[in-house]
Amino acid sequence: MAEPIVKETFIDASPETVFAFFTEPDLITRWLAEEATLDPRPGGACHQLHRGEDGKQYRMRGEFVEVQPPSRVVFTWGFEESTIGVFPGTSTVEVTLRPEGDGTRLQLVHRDLPDGAVGDHTAGWEEMLRRLAEACARVSA
């Protein structure tokens, strides 16, 4: 399994405000997803639509695991599209929010990721080459 991704940042907003950006569709669509269906309680749906750099939509299908406003939210992460190689329910995103001064110290840990190249699964290789070629065409256009 690949090592977890750990990110940390300071946001000049209260933990309550930041927390809402993970649990309210109107707010999550401002930064993470194009569309979202969120039921923020353990076992509740965490469904998101993402737009890839290839212009295609990808369906993130997850579930909330922990919801403790305003300090902690955990949800599973995976895509229905097999070409990405992270299947629904297989990886986990843990977000911790701590007050710091007037703002929030945010930590995000994305764990249980599979090893391997992007698109290394099933039709992944051809799909990856095709997407790279398309990306090149766009870059040089």
Partner: protein, 104 residues
């Protein structure tokens, strides 16, 4: 990543990657698959692929053998690393904006 994109923009280089994806091939055999391409051009393609980290080169006497490196394409972890950097930056901007809106 740009190296990788530059390497695969050329269709013949993508074809070479397909040839050596599952097995190692010597340069001569690879060149034989492109009868309309000069040998130096095929060598150049192999050099570009090697420098982009997409193939490994192994020498056996005077022969050079090539094999695709699947880790040469961006790893999932690298991709998500960049993804979260970008998304969290957007979150910061939007949350700070919303905070101002709510509390002045």
């Amino acid at each position: 990543m740009q190296d990788v994109l530059d390497a695969v923009v050329e269709p013949r280089r993508r074809e070479i990657l397909r040839l050596v994806r599952d097995r190692e091939l010597p340069a001569g055999e690879i060149a034989a698959r492109f009868p309309d391409v000069s040998r130096p051009t095929v060598s150049e393609h192999l050099r570009v692929l090697r420098e982009a980290g997409l193939v490994t080169e192994r020498r056996q006497g005077t022969r050079r053998l090539y094999r695709a490196r699947s880790e040469g394409l961006m790893s999932l972890r690298e991709f998500l690393d960049g993804f979260w950097d970008a998304r969290l930056e957007d979150l910061r901007v939007q949350a700070q904006r919303e905070e101002k809106r709510r509390h002045g």
